[in-house]
């Protein structure tokens, strides 16, 4: 299975026979302790879990053979209430920001922090607040619901995987890294936990203003809403279109630079 995921991702070009035997042993080992995963859906659009499910090639075996989904409303029909306590989880993916006025969301998030070994801010709403940052309340169905914040504002978060949504590939790569205990790969996502106030204007403040921009265009390419263009070799952000997902700054080669991983991936 792991071999299949790696093949799908183009990871590790090992000789096939050798690879398969090693992988079988490895997967057999994993079988003993399948990670228990929970999926918690707060104020998000379900786009993040849809992106997860876009890993068609590996999804079914991933969900059935490699992990146990022990909690969630979409991936597993498990709800938590006073009679049914939330199960213990090795890893909880939290989609969506948390609304400070929504007692149920707040309670669920705090309970998840108690029950999960690792809490992942999954998608930009959970990681940076994303477009829920624009909420000012006064709407139906609950006009009191006004203040939506990244979950790291309320609980300790271990990993952040921003993206509106995170790409299917980064989700698969992260799953592989978690299963392999590949902390080096996960390090940038641990660092991103602190990046909760994202905005297209970060390109100006943290790259152009800091004499770091080289006009490569990666930011403009990665913007999911086409809010970023390039004018005279510099990013120009249309703030009316920006959803504050943080992807432009995160993909910028001048924000952080994973040199060792890149060389490893290229075989250099």
């Amino acid at each position: 299975m792991l071999a299949r995921i790696k093949e799908f991702l183009g990871m590790e070009a090992k000789p096939k026979e050798e690879a398969s035997q090693q992988e079988v042993e490895k997967v057999a080992e994993e079988e003993k302790a399948k990670p228990r995963i929970g999926y918690i859906h707060l104020s998000g659009c379900t786009g993040d879990v849809m992106s997860l499910s876009e890993n068609y090639d590996i999804l079914a075996p991933l969900l059935t053979e490699m992990v146990d989904i022990v909690y969630g409303q979409t991936l597993a029909d498990v709800w938590w209430d006073d009679e049914n306590p939330m199960p213990e989880m090795d890893l909880a993916l939290v989609e969506g920001s948390v609304c400070l006025q929504d007692e149920h969301s707040m309670k669920e998030l705090l309970e998840v922090r108690e029950k999960a070994g690792l809490v992942v801010a999954f998608g930009s709403c959970a990681a940076t607040g994303c477009f829920t940052r624009y909420s000012r309340g006064g709407q139906q169905a609950n006009p009191r619901h006004e203040s939506f914040v990244p979950i790291a504002d309320v609980v300790k978060v271990d990993l952040a995987m921003p993206g509106c949504p995170p790409s299917p590939e980064i989700i698969a790569k992260t799953v592989v890294a978690v299963i392999n205990g590949d902390m080096d790969y996960l390090q940038p996502m641990m660092d991103l936990v602190g990046y909760t106030e994202a905005c297209g204007c970060d390109l100006q403040l943290k790259v152009v203003n800091q004499a770091l921009c080289i006009g490569c265009g990666t930011c403009a390419m990665s913007c999911p809403t086409r809010a970023v263009g390039m004018t005279n070799g510099r990013p120009e952000v249309n703030s009316d279109r920006c959803v504050k997902c943080g992807v432009c700054y995160i993909q910028c080669p001048r924000s952080w630079w994973p040199a060792d991983r890149i060389k490893q991936d290229l075989g250099l």
Binding site: E169, M221, N232, L268
Partner: protein
């Protein structure tokens, strides 16, 4: 290793007379892309194509050899080629895209491939990256200013620009004017000052004029796919090669310039760190090889 990891280093040029005529040096980027397109190794490429304004390139998706030829030749200003990558995959439907990048763009591309955090189904569709040597890059207005000030030439009359033998060369229809490359200092964009990469260390194939005789390019093949495509083009007779000149104007020159770019950048990086300014690279004290691109 100041030239990065590579499989082979040679001098090479395109054997196609038309490409030789319009290309900057050996026509390696143009020749290889045309070959890869013909052989269906790629189904299109992101290149610095022409725009409405003379000498101002525009990232363009080329789908034919003609469109690749139209982008031949170096433009000494910014062309945000990474910007067009998603467009190439989504709007043009490329499954195996080629791209020409300068080192900083290569770094954007490789980071995207290792960490495709917010970009869905794009990173895996880049089949070939040809990296161009780069000492520094100029904003368009900088280029216009120093061409008119230093060369005393009307920008609209320029037919070719070139950097070589320590000079910046400006060709017009009936004249060739040059001035020392040192005189362009102060016109480059400041982001280049922390760049540790002259030879596009992370490309599939890197190429540029430094260290090569006139009309030839220096070529380094780096990755498996890069080596394969280059060898195929050589076997097909579309690229000819000769052994790298190891001497003063060959490998020695390339190594010297790559090293001096790194040393200058490391000084800048260390200085920035001391001031507490952000920079994505490690200080020289934090890494084993102080000149590594990390």
């Amino acid at each position: 290793m100041v030239l990065g990891t590579y499989k082979q280093i040679v001098h090479a040029r395109s054997t196609d007379k038309q490409i030789q005529k319009i290309s900057q040096d050996g026509g390696i980027a143009t020749g290889l892309l045309c070959f890869a397109l013909d052989e269906k190794i790629i189904d299109g490429a992101v290149v610095a194509g022409p725009s409405d304004e003379m000498w101002k390139p525009e990232p363009t998706v080329a789908l034919s050899s003609d469109e690749i030829l139209a982008a031949a030749g170096t433009k000494y200003t910014l062309s945000p080629n990474m910007w067009m990558v998603k467009e190439a995959v989504r709007q043009y439907g490329l499954e195996k895209a080629g791209i020409v990048t300068i080192p900083c763009q290569t770094m954007g591309l490789r980071k995207l491939q290792s960490y495709p955090i917010g970009v869905r189904f794009v990173a895996g569709k880049i089949a070939l990256d040809i990296g161009i040597f780069c000492t520094e890059n100029f904003p368009f207005e900088s280029l216009k200013t120093f061409i008119s000030a230093k060369a005393g030439v009307d920008f609209s009359l320029v037919e070719k620009m070139d950097i070589g033998k320590g000079k910046f060369w400006v060709h017009t229809a009936d004249d060739v004017i040059s001035f020392p490359i040192k005189e362009t200092h102060g016109y480059e964009q400041s982001g280049c000052k922390v760049c540790l990469d002259l030879v596009s260390e992370l490309s599939d194939i890197s190429t540029g004029s430094i260290g090569a005789p006139d009309g030839w390019s220096s070529v380094l093949t780096r990755t498996e796919p890069g080596e394969t495509i280059f060898s195929q083009a050589v076997d097909a007779g579309l690229i000819e090669t000769k052994p790298m000149d190891e001497g003063k104007f060959g490998l020695e020159m390339l190594t010297k310039l790559a090293k001096s770019k790194k040393e200058k950048a490391m000084k800048e990086i260390d200085q920035r760190k001391e001031l507490g300014l952000p920079v994505p690279y490690k200080a020289s004290s934090e890494k084993e090889d102080p000149l590594a691109n990390v």
